[in-house]
Amino acid sequence: MKKIDFILCSLPRMNMLYPPGAPAILKAVLMDHGYACRTKDLVADWFTTFKDHPDWGTIDSWNALGNLKIRDDLESLIDEKVESWAKYLIKQNSVWIGLSIFSYESHRLGQMLSQKIKEFSPRQKIFMGGLGITNISERYAEKLFENGIIDAFITGEGEESIIQLAKGNLDFPGINDKNYQQLSKKTLDSQPVPNYDDYDLSLYGKEQQGAYSNFNKDIHTLPITASRGCVRKCTYCDVPLLWPKFTHRGGDLVADEIIRHYESSGTTKFHFTDSLVNGSMKDFRVMIDRLAKYNMDKGANITWTGQFIFRPAGSHTKEDWKTMARSGASVLEVGIESGSDDIRFQMGKKFTNDDVSVELKNASDNKVAIFPLMIVGWPTETDKHFQEFKDFLVRFHPYAYNKTIIDMTLGQTTRVQKNTPLFMEREKMGLEMIPTGGTQEDLLWWNKNNPTLTLSKRILRRFELAELALDLGYSIPEDYDEKRYLWSKWNELKDIETKWHNERTTRNQNNNVQ
């Protein structure tokens, strides 16, 4: 087989709503610079291989729960699959094999696949990249690199770094370190259209592992990236540190990309991978105007989904909502995060429940569905705040009934992640991270100013809210997986937390005696 420069693949676990964008984006960038590149979609391969297996739930959990031990016969199945991938990738005769790690849920497979490749072809060069090695406190890629299991890793955005890697410039910021630089607007605007030629797009959008349970059956979806970073500085979020500046492409360029995909492949469904689609209202309005006009003129029926921020009432006009609907806005994921105004403002969100009410009404009137993203167990969340959260669910449950709130996620309780304002301000808030003896676990913290909100209490609240929400008619597709995850984490962490509290209590008692 003719030698190529790169083969890039995304690794499970990712949902099957839309094809993983990173390899397609980077393939286009590499080809634009004259490098030969192929992509291999291991996410779809994993899903189509195992989805009908009677133990699919267990196999799927094996990825999500890094410490889950499963039956030997299932381990063997996974081993065989990974071995076949390793052999396939080596056979491509590529200088570099690139593994895209979207989240910690790809860590287990990422390590296993890298080891298999090295086992069969010790001199094969491997690199990793992606959010799953960038915004984590664990030294995952670093350790693999130090041990020689991978030969390089790229943090942050890969568009410029991958070209430098291809040139052999390993000193470029973001290669083998976390000193990556953010792409400028100029670079973003000059990126080529992602190349999905090696993907079987018909596999996507049919069965989605929980995402948008009531929507988008049997229509494949393409990812679009219009911006990097965020205009908000939410205290729990590491996006402002990952991308200090909000940079965005021009609204007309984004609309052009969507229209080009529609005209070349007939794709009508698109998903924005951005932290938010409406960061720049000016460019957002340009984009929706253009798409709305195109839909009207051509009868194109283009629709799109993505993350969106609610703003104080009136910021989005009734006309904005109408144009959004005509442009094809179908599901907007919105970080409402808490049902309590007080907590939401502490998080850095700048809207109230009354603002939510106005936005939901507009969404409902224009048949745009909303997917609220929520967090339970904020460090200052008292019983009163928790009651407000429940009241919120009751207040807005009619929108769950009419499917304006199409689905919801309640998350895995509050994490105090490094590189977030919450972590940096922890001492001021009275927050302490409880050490585990190994990698710091961001679910394991204690607030001395809200002492009864232990890990168990936070998880219990998560369960109580889910029970109420389901009773009220909300749909929570990820609920089962998240609860199982929390169960595994609780088993892992509860004794560490108890020991830490016991030592703290003893220390305090001794101090009092002295």
Binding site: T58, S61, L65, G66, N67, L68, K69, I70, Q115, K118, E119, P122, R123, E146, N147, G148, I149, D151, G437, G438, P451, T452, T454, S456, K457, I459, L460, F463, K483, R484, W487, S488, W490, N491, E492, K494, T498, H501, N502, R504, T505
Partner: protein, 180 residues
């Protein structure tokens, strides 16, 4: 099979004398250093591995007097410390390195026949690292063997919401009695 071996050693000298050591694979000397006075030794060798292999790092020509002691504390020594061993760029797992033995020899005083869990070679003697071919597969298998998770979750199938909530409530009750 053709393989690549990379070795990194920290060396200790007492300013007058440095360590003498040699690296040997399957009875063939790869390198020898006499009175080595730099602080570190790094080298990379192209090797031919057999199905069973023995890498030997031999430290020699030291006398007990080379260790300088002041007020009961060692202030300088002639010795070597194995920092890492890589085959085909893949590091051997530290536990794996510690599991192999150092055999003291030509030492004036009585010492143990073999020493484990120590990669600081202060006596004369030989450290033996035994491995199989294909080496990469062997080294990765050692990683798997020694990288045990601190916590293994085994009973996912027995999970139920009801049971978990009950456990949580009980745990919260215990917490509030004990330390909150």
């Amino acid at each position: 099979m053709k393989e690549q071996l990379e070795i990194k050693i920290t060396t200790f000298n007492n300013r007058l004398k440095g360590p003498t050591f040699e690296i040997e694979l399957n009875g063939k000397i790869l390198d020898k250093q006499v009175n080595y006075l730099s602080d570190t030794y790094n080298n990379c060798f192209d090797i031919l591995s057999e199905s069973k292999n023995k890498l030997v790092i031999r430290h020699s020509n030291k006398t007990p007097k080379d260790t300088l002691v002041q007020d009961g504390k060692v202030v300088a020594d002639v010795a070597i410390r194995l920092d890492h061993l890589k085959f085909n760029n893949i590091s051997c797992h530290p536990v794996d390195l510690h599991e192999n033995f150092f055999y003291p020899e030509n030492w004036k005083y009585e010492v143990e026949d073999k020493i484990k869990n120590n990669l600081y070679f202060g006596f004369n003697g030989r450290y033996e690292y035994c491995f199989e071919s294909p080496v990469t597969k062997y080294v990765l298998a050692q990683h798997k063997k020694h990288s045990k998770d601190d916590f293994v979750l085994e009973q996912l199938d027995k999970y139920s919401d009801e049971k978990f909530v009950k456990l949580l409530k009980h745990h919260i009750e215990v917490e509030s009695k004990n330390f909150l």
